[in-house]
Amino acid sequence: MSEAVSKAGRWIDLANPTRFINFAGIVLPWLAGITLLVLAAGLWMSFQAPDDYQQGSTVKIMFIHVPFAWLSMMCYTIMSISAIGTLVWRHPLADVSAKAAAPIGAAFTALALITGSLWGKPMWGTWWVWDARLTSVFVLFLMYLGIIALTRAMDDPAKSTKATAILTLVGFINIPIIKFSVDWWNTLHQPASVIRMGGPTIHPSLLWPLLVMAIGFTLLFFTLHMMAMRNEIWRRRVVAMRRIAARSAERRGTQ
């Protein structure tokens, strides 16, 4: 009797993720297809775009660098929303979403840093400067890695969920503070070297490819995020099934 009740309870718990997996199965092929189309279009537009008269062809790195940088921040925002979802509404998928987003966010941040320094080498003559913006993105990257390390250190999702959510939120509050203090710290030492692209002065011939690329990479992010969430749900099911297998082997042994 009690077993039947617990089994029913488990099915209700699974209902939501199960629906998600079905939903993902339908949506993913379309989403992936659209992503590919938009990215291909964006790439084509990027190559058609004229070279900058000052920066030459290196300006094309911007077409992937800027979307990566945007997404690195968007991903953290999504993780923070998921963290609130975990802590406030205890939504079973929120935790999955946060955990799945962290490695993707870390990858986008790393790509933003790498493409940035590829651009910086010919522009500034060095791979890296401790500029305010670069430094705060680097700190963001460290926080992603810290969150990943925390989720991996605790193998029981029930335990790691809340801890990770709390850490994510503290990080979200902390990022503006870090950004602010880094700005202050940097201007104190090197006021002249803050180099960045003037946003509004960008020419439309460069702006359009950039926007298309940004949309393409955002779609790519959602595709990857959905796939990672599905994997995470499946991984948890494998764990649950292994526990059941261990228990059922016991029951057979004692009979």
């Binding site: 297998a245 228990r247 082997a249 057979r252």
Partner: protein
């Protein structure tokens, strides 16, 4: 083959727990060490295994098979802890111990079958229940050959059925000419084992041993 302990004394933290302890076991014989907590049962086992220094006395293995002249090398030790890594699967754990201990006896799959874990060898050790973990640990005794088994509360965490199965495994080992020394509170289901009662305060008597000699 004969395992002989003469005038053995041992203790922990400078305190002597037992002294003047003598016993001799030949192949096919079992020794049960009983007594209250803190009497020195585990200490005695660890001294035989060579993990603790004895205060005085000798332990030797007479007429040992080749390769087992040294007492430590001739012993399997099953302590309170299972010596298994939770993140590795049961099979990975056992295969490692088989390679490390050498002298393969039966295969890992056969050993798992003998302890009724045949189906779940592919699971990480962490997923197993307490009794299953203990049985996996017992399988470690089977996969590499050692003539002497040193068992510290071997049936802790086992249910009735598993206890009986384990008694069967011990009887097989004895039948093959092996020696079993077990510290235990419970009867282990062995035929006519010797019993060493450790009474605390260094007081030791051997019950059935005296009756038989």
């Amino acid at each position: 083959m004969r395992l002989v302990a003469e005038n053995l004394a041992g203790g922990r933290g400078g305190e002597i727990l037992f002294s003047g302890l003598n016993f001799a076991l030949s192949g096919t014989e079992a020794l049960m060490i009983t007594g209250p907590n803190g009497a020195g049962k585990s200490t005695l086992l660890r001294i035989i295994a060579g993990l603790l220094e004895k205060t005085e006395g000798h332990i030797r293995l007479d007429g040992a098979p080749a390769g087992f002249e040294n007492v430590d090398a001739a012993c399997h030790y099953l302590g309170h802890l299972n010596a298994m890594k939770p993140v590795l699967t049961v099979e990975e754990n056992l295969r490692f111990w088989q390679l490390f201990h050498g002298i393969a006896h039966i295969t890992v799959a056969e050993a798992l079958e003998r302890v009724q874990l045949g189906d779940i060898g592919h699971l990480p050790f962490a997923y197993l229940s307490t009794g299953q973990k203990r049985r996996a640990s017992i399988a470690r005794l089977l996969i590499s050959y050692r003539p002497v088994w040193l068992l510290d509360e071997p049936t802790a965490g086992l249910d009735k059925t598993s206890e009986e199965q384990f008694a069967g495994l011990m009887r097989d080992h004895l039948k093959g000419g092996g020696i079993v020394i077990a510290a235990t509170h419970l009867p282990l289901g062995l035929d006519n084992p010797q019993e060493l009662v450790m009474g605390g305060n260094g007081h030791v008597r051997t019950r059935r041993w005296e009756a038989r000699s």
